[in-house]
Each structure stands twice: as C-alpha cells, then as structure tokens.
C-alpha cells in the first residue's frame, strides 16, 4: 500500500515536472534544470540533516563530479551523459567512502567546518593547477544521449527531462531510505545519539552511509550542472557554493523530499530576479529573503505540509 502510493506520487511528480518541458520558456527551463541539479546536491545534505549533521562542504562533491565529467569528456572524448554521470558518481562514491568514516566521528559545527575545510582544499588545489585552467576553469561540450546529439531547444529539453528523471528516482530512493530501519535510526540520532548507541545501532555506520549517499548525489548534481552550464571552475568547491546548498536544505527542512526541489527552484528564481531588478543590492535582497525564511519557517517548507497534515488528522 505504502509502496504503491509512493510510486504513484513519483509518477505524478515526474509528470508535473516533465510538463515543464512543454510550457516553460527557454530561460526558465534552464533555470529549473540548474535548480534541480543543485537540488540533488541539497537532497544529500537533507539526508545528513535527518541525522543532525550538516555538511558545509558539499561543494567538494559537486565540484569533483563536475571536474570528473569535464576531464573525462575532454581527454577521452566521452560525451554520453549516462556514462559521464555514472563515472562521476563512481569517483564521488570512492572519495566519499574514504572520507565518510573519518568525518563520521565529528558532530555539529566540527563536522560542518571539517567538511568545509576539505572542499576548500580541493578549491585551492584546483586553483593552483594551471594545466587544467586554474581558477579560470574548463569548458565541456554539450552532452549526447546514447548517440543522439541534440542542439538548441531539444538539447535543453533533453537535459531537463534527464535531470527530472534523476530527481524523481533519487527522491523516491531517499523516501524509501527515510522510511527504512536505517533511515529511522538516522532520525533517532538527530534526537539523541547516545540512546541510539545504547539500543545497539552504530551511529557511525549510519552517518557514513548518509555521507556517502550525499557524496554520490553531489557528484551527479555537479555533472548535470556542468553539462548544462558548459563550464566548470574551482568556484564549484568554494564555501559560498556549499553555503547555498545548506541554505536550500534549511529552506526545505528535513521533513519532506519534494520540498528540497521546490526550495531550490525558489532560491534560483529569487536570485535571478533580484539580480536583474536590484543589480546594486541583490545581496541585500537575498540576505533579507534568507532571514525571512529562517524566521518564518524555522523547520523549512516541508513543515508547511506536515502541519497541514496534522491539522487534517
């Protein structure tokens, strides 16, 4: 019953999002595709947030995924989007698996700051490597889809549908994970870690899993973002990029999966319009928006749904 409901919602979400490929104007479809790609990264943070950890360095995997795709595409002429996504996800899986158990020992602000330091080391290293463009970064050619090489609007549509499908798959998997035994342990960790340990579960393992999952999502998000943008630079790993992901995660809250993507789209829109209408004070506008959200929705957008649902019952 639960599962079929979930599948139904997944299909519903896909249908709604995919409809965007028809009604959205070009600029908005691109904005949505970018927002959804970043949303994937944020989904990884939300997974960790359920366990009470917030990574301030998710830019590490976003950047790693993007550079993996770009370097593979540039050196071996691979342009297939499926292959590139798989490769980046694989690299991020390995790196995440290496750092995950190490970081799982840390909590709260230390976890946040250490993950931030890791991504800043990647930022610094890439900035130094002038043979791959240094701070100026690299370009990547448009992707192909199993041999099909679209251009213009069809390319944007294909990318958009691709990221939509990934979003729905990742979101569904995340939901299944949330409702699984491990997922519930994660949630319990958020409330009280010690109790969970006394009950015989390993907090460290759970945290490592969510971290690695977040790493893979980060890599996938970075790959799609770079394919949409056509350009990657070390800024992908800078702390302000990671800060933006955290903001989306906070805006969404840890209660609802779709809320993450709604939050990501809202942020992109706010930024894009404030940039145009207040070119001199867009940071001010963004900051006020941030504060307003934090003050008015302390548990994120997801809490809106949760609250209504509780009212109903």
């Amino acid at each position: 019953m639960m599962r079929s409901n979930l599948l139904l919602s997944a299909f519903g979400a896909f249908a709604v999002l995919a409809a965007g490929s028809v009604i959205l104007p070009d600029w908005a479809m691109f904005l949505f595709a970018m927002a959804l790609a970043k949303g994937l990264v944020c989904l990884g943070i939300v997974g960790m947030m359920r366990g009470g950890l917030v990574s301030f360095g998710q830019g590490l995997y976003y950047c790693l995924g993007a550079y993996t795709a770009t370097l593979v595409a540039g050196s071996f002429g691979v342009s297939d989007i499926f292959l590139l996504t798989l490769l980046s996800a694989g690299v991020c899986l390995l790196v995440g698996a290496a750092f995950g158990p190490l970081l799982a020992n840390y909590r709260g602000i230390f976890f946040a700051m250490l993950s931030l330091a890791l991504s800043m080391v990647l930022y610094g290293s890439l900035s130094k490597m002038s043979f791959i463009g240094g701070t100026d970064g690299l370009n990547i050619a448009a992707p192909t889809f199993l041999g099909w090489a679209p251009e213009g609007r069809p390319l944007q549509t294909a990318l958009y549908i691709y990221v939509t499908a990934l979003v729905v798959i990742a979101g569904t998997l995340m939901r299944i994970f949330f409702d699984s035994e491990q997922g519930l342990i994660t949630l319990a960790t958020r409330d009280n870690e010690l109790r969970v340990e006394y009950l015989g579960a390993s907090v460290r393992n759970v945290m490592s899993y969510t971290y690695v999952f977040g790493a893979v999502l980060g890599g996938i998000g970075g790959t799609i973002a770079v394919l949409a943008l056509g350009h990657v630079d070390p800024e992908f790993a800078f702390w302000t990029t990671s800060g933006e992901f955290v903001f989306v995660a906070i805006l969404a809250g840890y209660l609802s999966v779709p809320a993450v993507f709604v939050a990501a789209i809202i942020l992109e829109m706010v930024r894009s319009f404030s940039n145009l209408y207040f070119p001199n004070t867009w940071q001010l506008a963004l900051g006020i928006f941030l504060l307003a959200v934090i003050v008015m929705l302390p548990n994120g957008l997801g809490s809106l749904v949760r609250r209504r649902k509780e009212d109903a019952t």
């Binding site: 301030f56 602000i109 946040a112 700051m113 900035s127 130094k128 940071q283 001010l284 504060l291």
Partner: protein, 300 residues
C-alpha cells in the same frame, strides 16, 4: 639577519593580526554558541569607520597632533560595537539562542550578505585610505631589512587585547559570571544572573574586537568592498585550531598559523595557499575539537 629570525618576525606580525581578528569570534562562540560569519562584515565596517573617522580627524586639523589618529582608530571600533552590537544581538540573534548551530551560521551568513551591500550604500565602491597612522611610528631596521614600526604596534595591540580578555574572564567578578553563563546559562539564570545582558555584553565585545581588527588594518591597505570575505575563513581556521571558545587557543592557533605561513612564503611559496588548512587538518586529526576545547558532557 638569518632566515629563521625573518620568519619569526614576519610570522609574529601576521599572528598578531590574526589573533585580533579571531579572538572576538571565539569569544562570541564561547558565550552565545553562535559562529558568526558576520564577524567578517564587522571587520570591514571597522575598517571603513576608522578610515572615515581618521579622515575627519585630519580634515579637522589633526595634523598638529597626528598621534590623535590612533585614538580615532580605536574610537571607530568602539562606535561600531556600540551601534551594531545591540542592533544585531537584540534585534536579531537573541531570537535564535538554543537553536541549531548550523542554522545560526546561516543567520549570520544572511547578515553578512546584507551588510556587504549596506556598506556599499554607505561608503560607495571607491577606496578609502588612511596612511598617516601607518608611517607615524617610523621604521625599524632589523639586520638588512626594514620593518614598519606600526607592524610591531599591532603585535603590541594583540598582546594587550589578549591579556585584557583573559584577565577580565579569569580575574574579575563579571568574568566569573560570564564563565558561569558559558558553562550553563539556565543554571546561571536561576542563580540570578541577567543572562541576556551577559549575551549582549559578550556580543558587543566580540563586535568591538572584529572592528578593532579592521580599524588597525585600515592604515596599511586600501579599504574597498569585499574586504570582509577573506578574513572570515582565516579567522575560522584559527578559532577551530585553538578550540572554539578558547582565548588562549586562539592565541596559539594564531601563532601556529602565522609562523607556518611565514615559513612557507620564504621557503616554499607554492604551498602558502594550503598551509592554513594543513595546520588545521593536523591539529584536528589529533585533537578533534581543537587544542583547547571545553569538554562537554553528553546529555542522555
């Protein structure tokens, strides 16, 4: 003069600056449990305010007594603390006490964004200069090198600031109360401590120290937009190395980073960018919560 001495002198000058910009951050975290990204903005505002004030001082005929410009520098930091301290703490941060640490980081990030543009609205994008205080103390010749006397004054200021903060916390009644609030604010409140006032005082002290850092730096740079963003990361690193909330930790963190950075510039310039993270990684590997972290009881 041999290389080792140069490295030491350069390292200590940088460490003095680092300590001043990071001690306020650690103090605010210790008391309010908020890692304040807007610390960087307060630093930048301190720099702007002192540039304006010193400019005014000389415009009003301060040339006769140029030493007065040092008073203007410090006064600027005081003004920033008096205006922005209550505004940010009473107006905003107090609504977030006891909330998630990371959420609070985001709150201060929002403040940082807002202040970036507010500074631009007040001071514009053109640079401000106040060289007078920088050259007033003359040169110091050490071996074949010249140093500016002002650089050593910054070290002196760092020592004074460090001692003042440490003595206040450990040797005065108010300091004892602050330590009690740090340890357990609820218990302090039941014992009759006016906790909100302590919070306000600590935040204003932190704001003053951030602004002082900016004010003391202003004479040796051009004060331009985007000044704050670079300070935040180094200050964070120093504070994390020393242990969040620890004043001696910030001092030792600053010296470690300062000297390793100087060594790197003189010996392996390519590594300069990484040195601060390297020190941080090494320290956290052995002391996961920094050098002087307060131990916290895990609540069941």
């Amino acid at each position: 003069m041999d290389l080792v001495a140069t490295i030491l002198v350069d390292g200590l000058i940088y460490a003095g600056w680092l300590f001043i910009v990071s001690v306020g951050l650690t103090l605010v975290f210790g008391v309010l449990n908020i890692l304040n990204i807007a610390h960087g903005s307060l630093y930048a505002i301190g720099a702007y305010a002192s540039a304006s004030l010193v400019g005014l001082y000389f415009a009003a005929g301060g040339d006769a007594v140029p030493w007065g410009s040092y008073a203007a520098l410090i006064l600027a930091a005081v003004l920033v603390a008096l205006v922005l301290g209550p505004l940010l703490e009473r107006g905003l941060l107090r609504f977030f006490y006891g909330r998630d640490e990371v959420l609070n980081v985001l709150v201060t990030y929002a403040v940082f964004l807002i202040l970036e543009d507010v500074m631009k609205l007040i001071w514009g994008v053109n640079p401000y200069f106040v060289y007078e205080p920088y050259t007033l103390l003359g040169d110091v010749e050490i071996g074949p090198l010249f140093y500016v006397g002002y650089d050593f004054a910054v070290i002196g200021a760092a020592i004074v600031v460090g001692l003042a903060v440490w003595l206040t916390l450990n040797r005065t009644k108010i300091g004892k109360i602050v330590l009690a609030v740090i340890h357990d604010s609820e218990m302090s409140e039941t014992m009759g401590v006016n906790v909100p006032r302590i919070y306000l005082g600590a935040f204003m002290a932190g704001a003053f120290l951030a602004a002082l850092g900016g004010a003391l730096t202003a004479p040796m740079i051009s004060v331009t937009p985007g000044l704050g963003v670079n300070v935040i990361i180094v200050a964070f690193a120093v504070v994390i190395i020393g242990g969040l909330g620890s004043v001696p930790g910030a001092a030792i963190g600053a010296v470690m980073v300062g000297i390793s950075r100087a060594a790197s510039v003189h010996l392996v310039p390519e590594a300069e960018l990484f040195i601060i993270y390297f020190v941080m990684a090494i320290v956290l590997l052995f002391r996961p919560e920094g050098l002087f972290a307060k131990t916290q009881a895990r609540k069941i």
